[in-house]
């Protein structure tokens, strides 16, 4: 089965560069954690066929990000993907989600796939909208929040993890599936696999290569959220005394 895996080079939110606003351009990128689970699932399911990664660069500046994205993709290749497609185009930097999905779908149409796998959401924006958008663009069914996946005779059987229940659904291929972190334990690549990944192709594409154009960008400003917490730390005394102090504070606040 030929599988496309969507891999976001997400902002590393543990290393946000913050001044008056969040300086997106200076914040490093990393693989969006849940995409590792999508890669793992693809490597398990692909069989004799190929599995490839697709990345559309969203965060600028373009030139520097290309190198960072290549490093992220090498990681996914080391986990067992066969090749990767990196769509890097100035017009896609800070683009709308509609544009990002259009570019991803264009790669999938160009390379072909029976299944598109993605993480349930990306760690920086956490909206989970790209998988359904790509499905809409391709005209394929979508199954989101999947924690168990089986392929049986051209059909997918998936367990969806919803708020109050687990739903087992069946869809025909081709389809788009988003997975949760519970679906598997992503492998840690061996040194050998990491070396082998250096030789696997990363194909760079622009919008012109894909023959598509996209709408104007979306305006967004990012203001750091300052934690307005009192940060009183009780560290001296016996456990007894500390407990007493904590209780006093909580009583003063009127919460107990």
């Amino acid at each position: 089965m030929k599988i496309a895996v969507l891999i976001k080079t997400a902002l590393d939110t543990s290393q946000l560069r913050v001044r008056d606003t969040v300086v997106v351009e200076e914040t490093p990128l990393k693989i969006s954690d849940i995409d590792r689970n999508a890669v793992e699932e693809a490597v398990k399911l692909k069989g004799q066929d190929k599995a490839y990664g697709v990345t559309v660069l969203k965060w600028g500046p373009l030139q520097r990000r290309i190198q960072e994205a290549e490093n992220v993709l090498r990681e996914a290749l080391a986990m067992g993907l066969d090749e990767a497609y990196l769509v890097a185009d100035e017009k896609l930097i800070n683009a709308s989600h509609a544009a990002t999905a259009k570019a991803i779908a264009a790669v999938v149409k160009k390379v072909g796939a029976d299944l598109v796998l993605a993480g349930e959401a990306t760690v920086d924006n956490y909206t989970g909208q790209i998988p359904p958008r790509v499905a809409a663009e391709l005209g394929w069914p979508v199954v989101t929040y999947v924690r168990e996946l089986k392929v049986e005779g051209g059909k997918l059987v998936a367990r969806r993890d919803l708020e109050d229940h687990v739903e087992v659904v069946e869809v025909p291929l081709p389809a788009v599936v988003s997975v949760t972190r519970e679906i598997n334990q992503p492998r840690i690549p061996t040194l050998l696999a990491i070396r082998a990944a250096m030789k696997k192709p990363i194909n760079k594409l622009t919008l012109a290569d894909l023959g598509i154009s996209v709408e104007p960008k979306v305006s967004a400003a990012y203001k750091p959220l300052l934690m307005q917490r009192k940060k009183v730390v009780i560290k001296d005394g016996t456990p007894e005394e500390k407990a007493e102090k904590l209780i006093q504070y909580l009583k003063q606040e009127g919460v107990i």
Binding site: T13, V22, A98, E167, M227, V233, Y249
Partner: protein, 299 residues
């Protein structure tokens, strides 16, 4: 101005009314239509299975013609329908909007981003789609005259629901809890969580947990799970015990009034995100707290 509400709740209809103009609701059976009569100008009853995002998006796309804003709940199916619909109508989707208004032909909204370490102010052209987290907006939609109509779709859905299993559920409603004692990997064994339940009991609160406790160790059912991928809570007291305070956990407790923490590592990030922190071994201090607080309450 015209707003479409898919999977309407009182809350969503209220938010729609604050945007002004006509409110249209999309529902999937007569009972739901009856329940919101008087709360929307038009109710469309579509003959599709509400559990199938593809089918719901198809129906919503039909009704969305001429609509400026589409609102959905921030549930997993709500977000899935939002993505499908937004792509079909060439719109942006704002997930988990914490504020929303329409101004100068654009939808302006705020939402938490980057592991809830920042607030994004976004402005997107109309038509636009947004999902709203439960419990965020409170108000009553104004009473209006409602007309009800039917929408007949004849496309057969590709997705088939084979079975539905209810998740193990207790009486836990963390979103409504006033006091939450939350447990993390600082607890060494499942049995030790008993301490936290006792502390919660004497405080008159409920027990929450970090992700590993529910997802990896499975010591507690998922309804206790707090954070970015779990429940978003807003108690008056959130007491984190043996929780390190990673941003994904903090993301779920931002709206707590007071955050207190117990951790034996003075450099644990939870102390940067708490009002009151105690550097101590939880095994030593929790029994003392249970004792003292039960005496206090007994008075």
């Amino acid at each position: 101005m015209k707003t479409l509400v898919v999977y309407p709740s009182k809350e969503l209809l209220y938010v729609a009314s604050t945007l002004g103009g006509e409110v249209v609701a999309l529902v999937f059976n007569e009972g739901e239509a009856e329940a919101i009569k008087g709360k929307a100008h038009r109710v469309v009853v579509a003959n599709v299975d509400a559990r199938l995002p593809d089918a719901v998006a198809e129906a919503a796309a039909k009704v969305a013609q001429g609509v400026d804003v589409v609102l959905l709940p921030s549930t997993k199916n709500g977000k899935t329908v939002g993505g499908l619909l937004a792509q079909r109508i060439g719109a942006e989707l704002i997930v988990d909007a914490t504020s929303l208004r329409v101004e100068g032909g654009a939808l302006k909204a705020e939402r938490y981003v980057f592991g809830n370490k920042a607030v994004a102010t976004v402005e997107v052209p109309l038509p636009a789609v947004a999902t709203v987290p439960p419990g965020r907006f409170q108000g009553e939609p104004p009473a209006v005259q409602t007309s009800v109509e039917k929408l007949q779709l004849d496309t057969a859905p590709k997705t088939r629901i084979v079975s539905v299993e209810e998740k193990a559920r207790g009486a836990v409603k963390l979103e409504e809890a006033e006091i939450i004692v939350s447990v993390g990997r600082g607890f060494k064994k499942k049995e030790d969580l008993q301490m936290a339940f006792e502390l919660a009991k004497v405080l008159g609160g409920q027990v929450g947990c970090s992700r590993p406790i529910a997802a990896d160790l499975k010591w507690l059912p998922e309804e206790h799970w707090v954070g970015l991928s779990g429940k978003k809570v807003k108690p008056k007291l959130y007491l984190a015990v043996g929780i390190s305070g990673q941003p994904q956990h903090i993301a779920g407790i931002l709206e707590s009034r007071i955050i207190a923490a117990i951790n034996n590592d003075p450099s644990a990030p939870i102390f940067q995100n708490a009002d009151y922190g105690v550097v101590e071994d939880l095994y030593k201090i929790v029994p003392i707290l249970i004792n003292k607080i039960s005496k206090l309450k007994g008075q």
